[in-house]
Amino acid sequence: MSAAPDLLGRRLLFFTGKGGVGKSTVAAAMALLAAERGKRVLVVEVDAKGNLPDAFEQDRVGFEPREVYPSVWAMAMRTEDSLKEYLRVNLRVPVLGRLGPLARVFDFVATAAPGVREILTVGKICWEVRESIEGRADWDLVVVDAAATGHIVAQLDAPRAIQELVAVGVIRNQTEWLVDLLSDPEITALSVVATPEEMPVSETIELVARARAELAVPLGAVIVNRVLPELFTHSDEEVFEALREPGPTEALAAQAGPGAPTVLEAARLAVSLRRSRAPHLARLRETVELPTLFLPYLFVRDAGLRVTRMLADALADELGL
């Protein structure tokens, strides 16, 4: 499938993927793209490595959103803060300062009890979306740098899991609107970031299958990051092969100097790196019936705002904007 998905038309975008594929950078690029198209964006960093603000060349953020780029606010999820906010807003239990002993107990229960941490994460995110839909908060879009492929299903399925486990109580009553919001295709989309390598592609395929089977959350797109360029057309490649023969290589060295063979070898490396990744791309395309966006491998020194902008531009192209 190649039709460009209307990701920017939604209110809540989750990005997941195997560790190391560039999920945070892609989420940041999407936020930047949306902001430059006039939206007010909240980016939520869930699996707090704390490096999402790097994409905007900003320091780490906390639970309270901070503007890291014009119209882009960023926050890091902290379940203890989320609980505090929840208690204050929903149960009118004021909690001053740190939760203290209650926090330790909470931490305890949360590590053990199914879905408590997840519900506080997803709950806070959905709450921001609902508040803005109902005009009490100003986000046009909430972008989530979500949990990695191994944990995302548990995270997004938490409201339903809680409904099954908890018979009564306030949380049980409040999971219904969460489920509704998360499963609304007008509002929510879950996208998976991958790189054209064996493990990221396998995890993507498995996750998409699981998401279809176990989650009501609508799938958005598969975003393939770091795609190496195809250097040559078929006929150009024949010329390239001919150039690597001893005669032409010698002639080239006579013109371009003794470094010519090194340069040819580097091109061969680039061709074969691209080629070794092609089967994974093909497998992904054949298996995952989702719109697939391709982002180029960027030959740059390091991450930062410039890279985020380049990726945002590439995303815009792929989304047909």
């Binding site: 190391g20 053990a112 064996e198 010519a260």
Partner: protein
């Protein structure tokens, strides 16, 4: 296979020869699993003895190559024919095992529960799977626990452990002590207190200190849910002694002088920062940091001045260049315009890769703390999914 060459102090092969346990760590996507398997293969091939690679989640084709398909916690020998078919002459045996977290937990419960009835109560508790799935980074804990168990059997001369992906690379180091702390904590006793006094629902004894907690918790979670949790912990707590003793032993093994850590990373900003952080943490906690593996690196020839000059000429290739080439091979080179285009692409590709190679070189120079052994593995052009691929990584690990 070449004869065993004399080795200096500082190379990976002698590190593997000197240790019984090598723990490979690093952030996701750096190629930890392949490096772990390659190191184990290298040890089995060159050093001999029985070598085990304990892996967590190998790529399917690699798992198949190691004969791990469909097997959980059972260690399996990689058939010697698989090694000889790849042109190796192994002096020892390569074994492989995959970590099955669920089964490992079950075995742990069965071992430490006071009686079968309690064990079954725990295993059948609906919270059990969930809790073992996420509680105190249970994957990390169980990986270290399995390592301990296998090491204790004395079956292997060397065990190479591939660590599970963690949010934070040091999580698994702390897993054993966290596990022990958890079971020994006053908090756990306090939390389960109302349920330990034999009180049934509605008649539980709640002390003054904990009352506000239960009131809030009841409102949020519902009291039945809380009781389920408490009951589970009560049963779980019966394993306290076995568990804490075990966790301390696991920690002791990680600190043992026969154990070393190897940090795997790519020369990219984020993974490298994490690797450096990890090296610092290892040293601060007095673990033995044996090696740093820089994986998937680009060739240093990309930094050649002569290469850059040649690439410049190619990028600007004019008729003088294409004409000279046409004279060398008129048959297979296309028309001069096409040749010029191809040369331009080749030159540009070199410059592109050179930017990345420069970044890698800079990051490498900035590495503040380096262990004695630093191994550099190039970005191999093919996926590593078989024994010969692993052997190639091993070749670079030794170089």
């Amino acid at each position: 296979m070449s004869p065993k060459r004399p080795t200096s102090e500082a190379d990976l092969e002698s590190l593997l020869a000197a240790k019984e346990v090598v723990v490979m760590c690093g952030s996701g996507g750096v190629g930890k699993t392949s490096v772990a398997a390659a190191a184990a293969l290298m040890a089995a091939t060159r050093l001999g003895g029985k070598v085990l690679v304990l892996t967590v989640d190998p790529a399917r084709r690699l798992a198949t190559a190691l004969g791990l398909e469909g097997f959980g916690n059972v260690e399996k020998q990689v058939p010697t024919e698989a090694l000889t078919a790849a042109g190796l002459e192994p002096r020892g045996e390569l074994w492989a095992a995959m970590l099955d977290t669920k089964r490992s937990w079950d075995e742990l419960v069965l071992r430490h529960a006071p009686d079968e009835q309690t064990a079954m109560k725990i295993l059948e508790n609906r919270l059990y799977e969930n809790i073992t799935g996420r509680f105190v980074q249970s994957h990390d804990y169980i990986a270290m626990e399995r390592l301990f168990e296998i090491h204790a059997t004395g079956t292997y001369d060397l065990i190479v452990v591939d660590t599970p992906p963690t949010r934070n690379a040091i999580d698994f180091l702390e897993a054993p002590s966290r596990m022990a702390d958890f079971f020994g904590s006053r908090l756990l006793r306090w939390l389960t207190l109302p349920y330990r006094t034999g009180g049934k629902r509605g008649s539980r004894m709640i002390n003054v200190a904990s009352r506000p907690f239960y009131q809030v918790a009841d409102r949020i979670l519902g009291s039945q849910f809380l009781e389920d949790i408490a009951e589970f912990f009560l049963n779980f707590q019966s394993m306290y002694e076995g568990f804490t003793e075990r966790a301390r032993a696991v920690e002791a093994l990680l600190h043992d002088r026969r154990t070393t850590f190897a940090v795997v990373t790519t020369l990219e900003g984020a993974p490298l920062r994490e690797a450096e952080f990890f090296c610092d943490q290892l040293l601060a906690r007095r673990f033995h940091l044996g090696a740093l593996v820089l994986n998937k690196t680009l060739p240093s020839t990309l930094l050649d001045r002569e290469g850059t000059q040649a690439a410049n000429v190619l990028c600007a290739s004019d008729e003088a260049v294409t004409g000279a080439l046409a004279a060398a091979d008129t048959e297979r080179l296309g028309d001069q315009a096409e040749t010029g285009r191809v040369l331009h692409t080749i030159g540009e590709s070199f410059h592109n890769l050179a930017v990345v190679a420069k970044r890698e070189a800079e990051l490498r120079d900035e590495l503040a703390r380096q262990p004695d052994v630093v191994a550099i593995v190039p970005n191999l052009e093919v996926d590593i999914h078989d024994v010969s691929g692993l052997a190639e990584i091993g070749h670079h690990l030794r170089a």
